[in-house]
Symmetry: C2
Subunit: 442 residues, 2 copies
């Protein structure tokens, strides 16, 4: 069925409308091979980008709003200009390079990713989709292909900190979040200014539902499913919902030598039982949900003082928002019980929430068709990671393309994807973009 639809698209949509403007005319385009990206150039750009924020032990620390982030963005702006694009920075600090379409009345198709990293991150998360988006635009230019829709290549700012750039565009960024302190040490507001945006004029960057013809993003899987199953391309069915809390455990600081074991209110002992409980509760039900305590600190934090307070984080993810809530309720109940048992108190403060974001079924079909045209195998799968695509999904049809992550390793210097897989992903992005551009409904 998909194969028949693919044939129909090639004959009826994909080529017919585009060839009208091709300098060699319709006959020549029908004979020419479909456009392909320059894979060597794409992988070279990935290597070059990895210089910015490089760590001695490998990988990068390219925190949003850091000097390394800004230097990498300068590099990206240069690549865009080399690709004959005219980049600009929107009020939210995102880099957006527009490419004109044949029909100025059409809404734009957006595609891109991000280049900021977590602390001690890798060279593929965000970078692959960002470099591939520019490569796709450069290929279109070199092949003198003008799409029906205007194209916007988008490099979103501060994805890792909480999708700040894309959420500013989708209108999900709340005013108080501008005061959040990012890992760079700057507030989000100051960071936007640092990147050349203007936090006082975010309305200029804002788009509303229906403003875009679609959004595509290529990304590494960051899990090990595609590699394990020997599949080339993941078609994302949706992005899991995420909830993050800051958890404060309050006990009583006291001298570690003079306070008997049975008279302690040890906040770290309670926090340890909490970490264990999170793991146990999340694993107690079937499914793909995950739960993580990623940050922890004990106060005052001396070897000879019983911790009086511990601050840690809790993160829960699943495609089903109600499952996240149910797990949270069980974990919070266990925390209360742990606190009662050792004389400590737990308090939860919501840090961050992303609702689950399904991709558009029509775009998923286009990705499947594009991959098949390229002779690549596919698998429909959820994204356990959050992505800018989830903010864009609130504005128009969204699709995401995954390529394999070796060993399923991400947010680590050991993050790696094969150059050939990256080229495959970029070609699927290109072919999907052309199909989306030609789709009757777009």
């Amino acid at each position: 069925m998909n194969r028949r639809r693919f044939g129909a698209t090639v004959a009826g949509g994909l080529l017919s409308s585009r060839l009208a403007s091709h300098p060699l005319g319709r006959a020549a385009r029908l004979l020419a091979a479909p456009p392909r990206v320059d894979g060597a150039r794409l992988n070279r750009h990935l290597v070059e980008l990895s210089r910015f924020g490089a760590n001695p032990q490998g990988g990068v620390t390219r925190l949003a709003y850091s000097d390394a982030d800004r230097q990498a963005r300068e590099y990206v702006l240069g690549l865009m200009r080399d690709a004959k694009l005219t980049p600009s920075i929107d009020a939210a600090g995102n880099i957006i390079a527009a490419r004109a379409g044949r029909d100025p009345a059409r809404k734009p198709i957006l595609f891109g990713s991000h280049i900021d990293s977590v602390p001690e991150g890798g060279n593929y998360d965000g970078d692959v989709g960002s470099m591939a988006a520019i490569e796709v635009a450069q290929t279109l230019g070199e092949q003198a292909i003008t799409t029906r829709h205007p194209l916007h290549i988008t490099i979103w700012q501060n994805e890792e900190g909480g999708l700040y750039g894309s959420r500013a565009v989708s209108g999900q960024l709340t005013a108080d979040e501008l005061q959040n302190v990012s890992r760079s040490g700057k507030t989000v507001g100051d960071g936007i200014t640092f990147l050349g945006g203007d936090p006082q004029r975010l309305a200029q960057a804002r788009r509303v539902k229906g403003d875009i013809a679609g959004y595509l993003e290529l990304h590494i899987e960051q899990g090990g499913t595609l590699e394990r199953d020997h599949v080339d391309i993941g078609i994302v069915e949706g992005i899991v919902g995420i909830k993050q809390w800051e958890v404060t455990v309050t006990g009583f600081a006291n001298h570690a030598g003079t306070t008997p074991m049975d008279q302690r209110h040890d906040a770290l002992l309670a926090a340890a039982r909490f970490v264990e409980a999170v793991n146990r509760v999340v694993m107690s039900v079937p499914g793909r949900q995950v739960g993580t305590v990623g940050r922890i600190q004990a106060f005052p934090g001396a070897p000879n003082v019983i911790p009086g307070q511990v601050v840690c984080t809790l993160e829960l993810r699943d495609l089903d928002a109600s499952k996240v809530d149910s797990l949270y309720n069980r974990i919070a109940a266990e925390a209360t019980q742990i606190g009662t048992e050792n004389g400590t108190a737990f308090a939860f403060r919501m840090l961050h929430e992303n609702v689950p974001a399904p991709s558009d079924p029509r775009v998923r079909s286009l990705i499947a068709d594009a991959a098949r045209e390229l002779g690549l195998t596919t698998k429909v799968m959820p994204s356990g990671a959050g992505h800018d695509a989830q903010a864009l999904a609130t504005l128009g049809p969204m699709g995401m393309i995954f390529v394999p992550s070796i060993g399923g390793i991400s947010h680590s210097p050991k993050e790696f994807s094969q150059p050939n897989d990256i080229v495959n992903g970029a070609n699927v992005l290109l072919a999907t973009l052309l199909r989306l551009d030609d789709a009757a409904w777009s």
Copy 2:
């Protein structure tokens, strides 16, 4: 038996030798009341000292080698001069104020404590013994009492970081420890220089076994035993041995959204099980041993990254060194098993060791006699906390006097001892000092 010995001491030793030099002569001294400290002045000095490094929420953060530490030491030097003492700073950075004795050939009796604090500490740990030592010396001056032995009032530097000042004097400080980074951010060597010492000339501060006639230290109990049992004065039978380790748990950092629960090597989950195991092992045998994990940090430390490494501390204390070793061996074995079960590895690095230090039984008797003379109740007890006295115990007869800590709270802004109990402790220190000065064996 004690009462008879007390009577013998008064008649034969305490008064007879001192009165030889008293301006009013032996008869007047026999009629005069025993000397008592000025309790109001002592408690006023404690309040004044608490200004240095005061925290808004109460208590002090007066880290060794910080500006607050140095300012507090200036205050102490002023008090000493007001007390007609001539303080100096030894090569190790300790403040030492000498007071001449009648017999210049006698070895000195030392007494004092420390004024540095843990982060977010209280106003009594160290401060009480320091202010009381100066008060005792000032009282002797005002009463025109000259002891047989020279007296040295000693304010040891960086007790909380690991008895650095007193261990330099006892020769237990190893050369490499000068490079240890203290909580102030300075190395110990730089800190000694900062306080007016000279780390190149530590030999000048060094004393060897037999160089001192004795060492006395008044301190708050830091535990809740005296208050609970309604006892005025604790007579320390010995200071527990302490071992501290830095524990590094190595797992594998990975994306918290894309890595299934059963494929994680979560260093923090392993560390949580370790914290629980420390508590369980330490509580599994009878006795007064304690075990604490006081510091913990997860790396890279983001809510959305599975921790790849955790660094925490382990501290074990007991009067019996072999028990500490036995507990450690069991804990290390459990850590290995925890690591095997979730694909992480534990490494232990010794940070610090204090061997158990018994007090001198003869000095304990003098303290008991002095307290009885003052109508105070006593209890012989171990010290769960480490003290400078344990370094001094290697040089000569050592005795420690405890006063009650309300609620057993210490290393906390809520640390508190009743002004009246502090005055009692200072008077026991004074009376014990005079008995030690007169003792036939000293």
